[in-house]
Subunit: 338 residues, 2 copies
Amino acid sequence: MTETPAGRPTLETVARVAGASRATVSRVVNGSVTVRPDVAESIRRAIAELGYVPNPAARSLVTQRTDSIALILPESATRVFSDDAFFPGVIRGVGEALEKADKQLVLLLASTQSSHDRILRYVHGRTVDGVVLASMHGADTLPEELRAAGVPVVTSGRPLGEATVPYIDVAHASGVRAAMKHLIGLGRHRIATISGPQDMVAGRERLAGYLTGLEALPGAVPLIEEGDFMRQSGIDAMERLLERDAGIDAVFAASDLMADGALRTLRRLGRRVPDDVAVIGFDDVEAARFTDPPLTTVHQPIHEIGTRLAEQILRLAAGEAVEASVVLPTRLMIRESA
Amino acid sequence: MTETPAGRPTLETVARVAGASRATVSRVVNGSVTVRPDVAESIRRAIAELGYVPNPAARSLVTQRTDSIALILPESATRVFSDDAFFPGVIRGVGEALEKADKQLVLLLASTQSSHDRILRYVHGRTVDGVVLASMHGADTLPEELRAAGVPVVTSGRPLGEATVPYIDVAHASGVRAAMKHLIGLGRHRIATISGPQDMVAGRERLAGYLTGLEALPGAVPLIEEGDFMRQSGIDAMERLLERDAGIDAVFAASDLMADGALRTLRRLGRRVPDDVAVIGFDDVEAARFTDPPLTTVHQPIHEIGTRLAEQILRLAAGEAVEASVVLPTRLMIRESA
DNA sequence: ATCATCCGAGAGAGCGCTCTCACGAGTCGC
DNA sequence: GCGACTCGTGAGAGCGCTCTCTCGGATGAT
């Protein structure tokens, strides 16, 4: 083991050991083909021997690239990582795809309002080549500001309002319509919904899917109670629904957690599922297979959302153009609750 | 808005605009006090006007710091982000604490075996000032290799085998002992356990807690079935336990997910909880409040694990010494299942 | 054999920053 | 009133890398 006295080896060190110039070593490191094979070989040997690893700071100082991508999670701190599997799944998808491309993942948790500025500053510093924004809430100004800052941006979920940055989303409405069709096919005709918050696109589109799905049922009137995607809100909303109409024979909940809450309320009030009331959720989280009874739900390809986000941002960062939006299909997972 | 023709403003640009030298601007940016107030003020104005943000690559090239910390999650891909809230909680804790210290969080998902080398290379490149390792599985060689690479390391959970790097962990065994004491106080005397995998420290220590806890019960014999912390394994293990001994009147499950599984098996086989069989879990995940009946469980301060990890790695990165281990307390959350 | 061509390799500048060192001006003591 | 300080500021080197430009030698054409 050849130890260089002065700390970690640099290109210079490798060049000396291999008897070549810094430039040539750099060529080998970066995979240039215009290097004589035997020279390249001796350089590679020197690199291995010295345990040389390029200094990324020096490199990005000149290349103006950093080979890292930021993933911003601007959810309120308490919600981001509830037992909802969405964000973890997206993180994993993004992480895997970036790993393949040999890029780094920088996680920016934007819990507080103050972090807004911090993120903007950070991104302005050009520490990342691109930004993946997992924005879920309403008309966030962040996507726009980032775009204005000149950084490539991709968001998860169609932004509310003007969609000025490319996004990846799932076909919320059509997934819900499939669920509604299934319920109607089961002969249900008093179909209620527990909607998500209406300041989120996911909440709005799932409700829209319910409304258009209901049109296939002549004379049916919408029966809506709003929740916040979490379990407790499903429990409460189901109670309100039954108070408003005890004859409900089906309910579509805009999230699995709320569907699970609804299941609990129904059980407590003596309704059998699916015999008396059929229940369908949305998300297909792990736990949906373990509810009582197992939950019929609309599956969304969370992992693929992540990988597609990564793909898009990498193309954008490489200067290529990408489609303004990619909408991934959802599909109905039929289990026992409907 | 003064636009510099050549792209983003640099220190040089700011210096010219403010009529000062690069060195002085650097002083202001880095908060040196030895700058005349009026000069500092005009420099600050120039910075604001130009929207100057320091180039981190250039900075770390000279300071040899990067102001970022890597969080390595070396779990097998499928398990990391199941509905177990552990890793998300730790990420959030680490993220928050790093945000306060104005450090960045780089996420390294080490799903495959190949990523081992990638991580080592990455860390060798000194792109991070320190590494937080959320290692859960057995005698991983990574902590040791990282230490050998000369990077500050802190792990979450005591490493199996030689503990050569500082770690943060929770008091698994004493938490379980509290649970056992509670069960014994309830008058139970046929207490079984669904243990975690024995190649993880958490699995081993929780089992150890069960065994020592059981000693308070004269003549009691251990009754153990092993699970993998996931729900299905709890369902299965509970079945095996009842086959082995139908008279079980209490069970401690080493995770909430397994406890939930046990609850299902018990319900299916007509056992009432807690009347016939008392059940206690471990973790206190969000969903534990929603099991049927609500789960009595050992709470561990997940978020604090994250913040403490961050704290330790920051101190280490700053060249300070830290305690070899920090063990955080657990506490029994008594709900209705026991 | 001579000249144009090409290809592999080295020299050197420069990316944007920090930090040491030197320097000039003001302050203090005697 | 003069040397000894102090204190704010600027000049300049250098962090480790990439990339352009140049150059020497080998090759091919005439």
